[in-house]
Symmetry: C2
């Protein structure tokens, strides 16, 4: 009933080179899954800058609260010690009360001791079942072996280790030349269900050997996040654990970028956003039960925020998403979803396009619209739905997938 691997998956995991200043390791701790690695450790060398964004859920998990505090406690300067990221799959350590908080603290302290760094520089993520105690002892017992295995590269294994219901491991990288110095930006992500908007999303780890000062790095991350991970939605359900962490090791032979006016700043930010958008798309391509990858482009809205809310309303509408699954060019449901968004819209100024096909304009179906052409378009695996509201300059693009019987099967038939 549900595909072993999403039909929207890329051909394979990309070839990703090591990032100077980053070492990785994975290990099998047997937290929930058996016979596969389920813990990832990333060690970041001294001299790095770190940035992060997290879920805004009011019921966010203990590791997220830990990471928020740890990030807030970092100095603006490059770190004079190393740092680390420890992530496990199979148990989210969410809604686990004081016991969950203690488990996170023990993991951070044990990792800090093993790597001889402060506990406040160990970032913890947990993803998986909500409400069950995390047997952190299983991880702590393997920490020495995990740390011993640390080595450059291995992003593919790291991406595999943090999978839960993901049907494929997700990675992306790019490089950019900054005043003749080539720096590399690499990321891995996990996420498939409980993927929702409005905030940072799932687990994403980004690494670069560029040198970027921490306040600027944080601004770049937050800004790109608003246009990438905050613009995807699989099922409108926001996780308790969403985490995006970015480590800039500064290992490249370059003076750190400190000011946004530095010409290298925009180049780096664009490359960072490219990697984040790639990863965001990969998460949608692995949406639970997904058979279509759909871009919702809203233009002509009153402002960008309004455009984003309308794009989200369309992307999250069960009636739109089931029509997409049924390959039905049901533009009436798009009109409905625009209307329910609670944002300015005028029936008579709106245009709707499926790809290049003009569907509706002047408050009604276009005279050039041929249903058979639209139906043929809808059979594609990748779709663009463009809505122009004709009101202003506001624009937003959101990526989503369809809602299929596979989603019901995954979520009604199994405990996640």
């Amino acid at each position: 009933m549900t595909a072993a691997v999403s039909p929207l998956a890329p051909a394979g995991f990309p070839e990703i080179e090591p990032i100077r200043g980053v070492r990785l390791a994975t290990i099998e701790a047997g937290i929930r899954y058996k016979g596969r690695p389920d813990v990832m450790l990333a060690e970041i060398a001294p001299g790095a800058s770190l940035a992060g964004v997290f879920t805004r859920s009011a019921t966010r998990a203990a590791p997220v609260l830990w990471c928020e505090r740890a990030l807030a406690g970092l100095p603006s300067e490059p770190l004079d010690t190393g740092a680390a990221i420890l992530a496990n799959a199979g148990n989210a350590n969410a809604f686990t009360g004081a016991a969950g908080t203690a488990a996170t603290e023990r993991l951070a302290e044990a990792t800090a001791n093993r790597l001889a760094i402060p506990a406040g520089r160990v970032f913890i993520s947990s993803t998986g079942v909500i409400g069950e105690p995390l047997e952190d002892v299983l991880i702590r017992e393997r920490l020495d072996a995990l740390a011993t295995a640390l080595a450059p590269g291995g992003f593919d294994a790291a991406a595999e280790a943090i999978r839960t219901t993901d049907t494929f491991a997700k990675g992306a990288e790019t490089s950019v030349s900054l005043d003749g110095v080539s720096v590399r930006i690499t990321g891995i992500a996990k996420g498939s269900g409980m993927i929702a908007p409005d905030m940072a999303t799932m687990l994403v780890y980004l690494f670069t050997d560029a040198g970027v000062a921490r306040p600027l790095l944080q601004d770049m991350l937050a800004s790109a996040n608003a246009r990438t991970f905050n613009c995807i939605t699989v099922d409108s359900d926001t996780s308790t654990s969403d985490t995006v962490l970015l480590a800039a090791t500064g290992a490249a032979e370059m003076a750190p970028i400190v000011q946004p006016e530095d010409p290298r700043s925009a180049l780096f930010a664009d490359a960072l956003e490219w990697v984040m958008r790639e990863l965001a798309h990969l998460v949608v391509r692995d949406g639970e039960g997904a058979s279509k990858f759909v871009e919702i482009r809203v233009t002509g809205a009153a402002d960008d925020r309004s455009a984003h809310r309308i794009a989200k309303a369309v992307a999250e509408s069960p009636l739109v998403k089931t029509a997409l699954a049924g390959e039905d060019p049901n533009w009436g449901r798009i009109v409905m979803a625009v209307g329910k968004a609670g944002e300015p819209a005028d029936r008579d100024r709106m245009t709707i396009r499926f790809g290049d096909i003009l569907v509706a304009e002047n408050g009604w179906v276009s005279p050039t619209y041929v249903e058979a052409e639209a139906a043929a378009y809808m059979r594609r695996a990748e779709l663009v739905i463009a809505i122009d509201l004709g009101l202003g300059m506001g624009a937003s693009t959101v990526w989503t997938c369809d809602l299929t019987a596979g989603y019901i099967a995954i979520n009604a038939d199994y405990r996640s």
Copy 2:
């Protein structure tokens, strides 16, 4: 795949007596459905007060815009002429541009001429396919026969005539004694969704022989609406056509209720709300693909608005709804949905109950919780999920259904 009649349907349509001052008729116009009545006409005698609430969709249909204007144009006093409601099933006359507006106007004028009342006192509703021209001539040709057939009673036939993909006709009534005068409150509703991919639309018509002045009647309707129809959600998709109309004919032997301080006012408002809640529940019981009727009770929230947003977030979460379909006591997903609502919540002060079963408290699963007991409870057809936030006095109850493969089949497997 989908039930001929919802498993949550009541045993049958209730016995409903005529309302003095209201005459009904139905007819087969063949707008979309063949071999069944698809148009309903209600004639309201002079002396009535009318109230209404409508969808706030920015893309609402031509008949809704017409009704809004008509209602705004009514005097505060009881009407010195009759009024009418004309509703058709099969075509929503939504997103049909200027042609749709003209069709609505022609219907109102033709009905007004036949009944010798002003066109501004004819309320029009259309429900069904979106974006296709309404062949209003089919209705206008039958108007004379329709008006000739007007007679007291016949709420069952009227409820049948406005069905689209509803699996059963919906009606409710009650009576209340006001200073020794028994008055009757009756309502019919349609709403569920679509078998062909059209717009789900809720139409509700309420009638009473009580005399209630129009401003007070409108306040009572809006207030009860906020706690009834605005508290149900099948799939979070707001129709372009939702309409609730209430006619108080004043035919009962009573002095009209004018002031909210009148002791009869609260009695009447309570009875009105009871009928509206019954009808709202019937719409949920006919939710597309529904196998569970679920009450989400939120208490202890910062305020009522906050409680309502949290209850809606839980009721509309695809992950919660699929867990309900799978009869999985997955309280972790409820925690997630509370967290994503964007409202104040504190993990450690929250309690969650399934029926009488205490599931979670103090930020974790309750020590008394036995999963097998919760699993047994979830197999019931009617469920109560109670969430107390432990923060304040805000409360809200929302009714919803589960999300099953039947919903996907209804909305993805058929072409418009």
